[in-house]
Subunit: 602 residues, 2 copies
């Protein structure tokens, strides 16, 4: 398998040239020291760790997987534990954690950039720290001072990791059905009883303790989602000094045999009267868990980027080396037995698709990350509200759309290899297997689509959508006479308008029949994703064109940006036509068939 | 994993009601006894074998895989050998083989129908007989009487199996690069030396001998594809009585570790001065091998159908059982804790997509199978030529397009299961892993697209395309006043015309620059596939509407056909918009980037 190489230059382009991260950081009093030099040095160290420590373990993790043994002991693949030790030793877990709890207090957007590197190098390994980050964030937001004092320093240092315990055998998307019980005890704690499944990092050998963040029901809690509370259930209950104490009544009953991310332990956890502590207010557990879920959703969006980047890098390197057939327009490497396959237009189509999605995803995600910084720390409430509104809209798009195109990119990356793509040793089939979970966990694409269209867009009477279309509109207006990108700005303006029109139409239909929203949702999500990336590609082209006009020593880099933008508009944007048509076709074509008639031919 | 159930009713619909198989069979003197009753009885027996013997081995095959041991011995998974014994015992290998060599002389189209059942139940197992069928066909077409006498009876009985040895480490799509040598010997035979990779069924324990059909170069043969000859290289050289004789110099060096079809042994074969026999004329090997490849391509198209059918069946059953959330339009199963997920529009969208592709694929493939019968045995030369022309056009569409939508269907089938789809025990992830090879082997989608657009359509100045568009045009003309399907016939007529127009445009562009054909090819293939299935769905709707109008006891079945046709036109046909736009965007957006600039950001 070829090596992963961190695209530091492109990250710098997105951070500094496109999104103005240096000024963004300087706008926060607490980030005055976060200079471009500091950022560059951190990213370089992160890249080194990802490339040298994690990437070599990616195939090992896939081949060995995790192993479960009697008594609920889970062993991670060879090298995972040692890599985690190094990760902790270098202080990475605390990068964006509060100074008060031992963290380095750096921006969340920087931690997300670290996740890109870690995740691209070895997504399965990255699942352990990423879940810990979510737990940390949830505790920091909803915990009592006492709880923070006990748990945060250990999570920040990386001595302990965390999990998110939501799914049960009979309930995934429908959290309201959950049955895990929490019975209050005389000492103020709770006894937690129930079974949770699909718990990533639920049990492992990498850290001395695991802090489970668990959804459960109090006695006499209202039915459905309004009767769910959140609990801290540590694997080992901390003692008076906050160190690992007695073993708690939670155990790993088994681990799942999955299609991919074999190095990540996916656990069945049995809570058998385990000691738990209420986190946040009673019956408000789902609201509190959204802190975890939103962070996890942006993290999962990153998985779309990671697999697209890997597919793009490896397939491009292969396409430049593999000799097969002559270019249709005449030999390009006449001294060789055949031309490298990158001369073939269709191979380029596949590579450029993955490239446009990887780099497009990078722009969208780091734009979201910037909004996270502002929502978390913005001095001005109006600014925070605006950032939250943008995040509300863009998080389901990032999670839903980027994972779908991430899988497509992984698919195309394999395809470039021909039959070799199907063979384990090249690593491309692992990339697709690992990517495949991303559209299912943390809310399926269908769930993201309902969240986007129903909850966010229609739920706000279109206000959430406008938080973004206004930005696009402003960009188009500002560039209507910009000859260098006119051919992109014009179609972008039309799409932006159509986006609003389609929303209106679906909204009107949904007023008559709520199934109309469900029938449009996934096509609406994909449409929104293509338009969102179209904006970022036009914006990137604007930056690149300006650099080229001003003169640059990096002509190749900026020309490639412009060319990828043109490719995106010419070959990818037309997909909006089929989604727009499907959205407008209405729900009748989905709903008219009797349930019993689906399988009548079989 | 839920059981596979053979869709006998739908097969009957396609064979008898849509394509008129009974009259088709009666038109051949040798098939006078092939009555609907006989066909039904054969299909029922085939279904029983597929459901009861093969389907239960599907998961076993995936889990165990094949094992290679020192000395080149390959062991197939538990139960595979015994299933093959039963298959041979029931006479299945000879179904469509010539009576003269011990076969039953039944139509090729019937053997392809058997392949649907076998392949849907267990694609990996089906690889062994399917390769033997290709070898049989190639020997029957190009072998000498002596060669046929030695090899055909054993292949027809199933005592021996066969392989197709084409790929070498440095050459896949580019067969012209192959290096395997064939040196003539004094006895009229040849010494074959070289290495072949990716040889399916290249070594196994299911049959007493394996007949390799091998591409190699004679000494002083012209370079490239014009210097390739075809050879028979048996694992054991037949003795004077035609029985298994001495072990030949061909051995299995290793087997590949693949993403899926683990039960199918994918072998590296080392030919070390092995004895071979020339098959067909010298230096015409590639032409002869096309007999094998065309048969293999239609067989691989069937893989698209198989995985789509499995995805559809299993996901539909799951969607009717899994309770999760309430319908947006109000509870549908108020007595249960939640509604079955089939009430949700987006779940239906995924199921209907897989259904439309599975049933659409069935129509296209059995139409092709009918043309194979005619091309093989038609009494009238004009009729044979017409069938060959249709097959030339439709084979790359069937192989290229149906495998792509087969993979998509397998993807959606998993998606319906949510996180459970990722877990091995449900079988849905295996279905996707097994499906994934179909767009790569037997010529990638890119290769099929070049074959379709370059060789077939433009190579015949559009004549090959017209062999099919004329049929569509006639259908549209005949149904222009058919109120029941007017809403389908109108868009179909427009698409059919646009298909020709797009072809003309690409053809003109390719005259200027041949890369234009390569740049349009895959989008052209996909466009062609969507239009081709649109014709079959309109034709199916026509049959169904007529049955409903005439009165039927199977109202649900025919209504579901009409509804699926409407779904296909409303939700799938719009994809032609994005492909048409991509085709017309030209090659510039793919070719302008410098090779060195692709990876410049990394």
């Amino acid at each position: 398998m070829p090596d992963y190489k961190t695209p530091l230059r492109d990250i710098r382009f997105v951070h500094d040239e496109l999104l103005g991260y240096p000024a963004h950081y300087q706008s926060f009093p607490e980030f005055k020291e976060v200079t471009p030099d500091l950022v560059q040095s951190i990213l370089e160290q992160g890249a080194k760790f990802a490339e040298e420590v994690l990437a070599p373990l990616n195939r090992v993790g896939d081949r060995e997987g995790c192993t479960w043994s009697e008594g609920g002991v889970v062993k991670t693949p060879t090298g995972f534990k040692e890599a985690y030790r190094q990760y902790v030793g270098s202080g990475w877990p605390g990068l964006a954690a509060p100074l008060a709890h031992g963290g380095q207090g750096l921006p969340e957007s920087l931690a997300l950039t670290l996740l890109e590197m870690i995740g691209s190098a070895n997504w399965a390994w990255g699942m352990y720290p990423v879940l810990a980050t979510g737990a940390k964030r949830t505790l920091d937001t909803h915990g009592t001072d006492e709880q923070k004092k006990v748990y945060l320093p250990k999570l920040v240092s990386g001595q302990w990791t965390g999990t998110m315990c939501l799914t049960e055998p009979h309930c995934g998307s429908d959290v309201g059905l959950l049955r895990t019980k929490a019975e209050p005890q005389a000492d103020g704690g709770y006894r937690i009883t129930g079974t949770k499944i699909f718990i990533s990092s639920g049990e492992h050998d990498m850290a001395e303790n695991i802090v489970h963040i668990v959804l459960a029901r109090l006695p006499d809690a209202p039915a459905g989602t309004k009767g769910i509370s959140l609990f801290i259930v540590p694997k080992f209950v901390p003692d008076a000094k906050g160190e690992v104490g007695r073993r708690n009544g939670v155990s790993c009953g088994s681990i799942e045999h999955k299609m991919g991310i074999h190095g990540s332990a996916t656990c069945v956890l049995n809570f058998d009267g385990a000691t738990g502590f209420l986190l946040g207010p009673p019956n408000k557990g789902l609201n509190c868990m959204f802190t975890f879920m939103n962070s996890a959703r942006l993290g999962t969006a990153m998985q779309g980027l990671a697999h697209a980047e890997v597919a793009f890098q490896h397939a491009t390197r292969y396409a430049r080396e593999r000799l097969q057939m002559r270019a249709l327009s005449g030999a390009k490497a006449p001294d060789k037995p055949a031309d490298p396959i990158i001369v073939h237009p269709d191979v380029r189509r596949m590579l450029l698709t993955a490239k446009a999605f990887a780099e497009g995803a990078r722009m969208l995600i780091y734009f979201c990350a910037q909004q996270v910084d502002i929502a978390d720390r913005g001095a001005d409430e109006a600014q925070r509200t605006k950032a939250e509104s943008l995040l509300a809209l863009l998080t389901p798009i990032a999670k839903g759309f980027l994972t779908e195109v991430g899988v497509e990119s992984a698919y195309l990356g394999m395809q470039v290899f021909g039959g070799h793509g199907y063979i384990a040793e090249w690593g491309m089939e692992q990339n697709l297997r690992d990517a495949r979970i991303s559209t299912m966990y943390e809310g399926t694409t269908g769930i993201q689509a309902l969240d986007l269209l129903g909850r966010k867009v229609l739920g706000s009477q279109g206000q959430a959508l406008m938080s973004f279309t206004k930005i696009v509109h402003k960009f188009c207006k500002a560039n209507e006479n910009n000859a260098a990108i006119k051919s992109l700005v014009e179609p972008l303006g039309l799409l932006n308008k159509e986006w609003g029109d389609l929303t209106m139409k679906v909204g009107m239909g949904a007023l008559q029949n709520r199934d109309e929203a469900g029938a449009a949702a996934v096509d609406y999500l994909m449409y929104s994703g293509y338009v969102t990336l179209a904006y970022f590609w036009a914006a990137a082209a604007d930056v690149a064109a300006a650099k080229l006009a001003a003169g640059t020593t990096e002509e190749g880099f900026y020309k490639a940006k412009l060319q990828t933008a043109r490719f995106y508009f010419a070959r990818i944007v037309p997909r909006t036509r089929s989604h727009a048509a499907a959205i407008q076709s209405g729900g009748g074509n989905l709903m008219e068939m009797n349930e019993a008639d689906f399988l009548i031919g079989s």
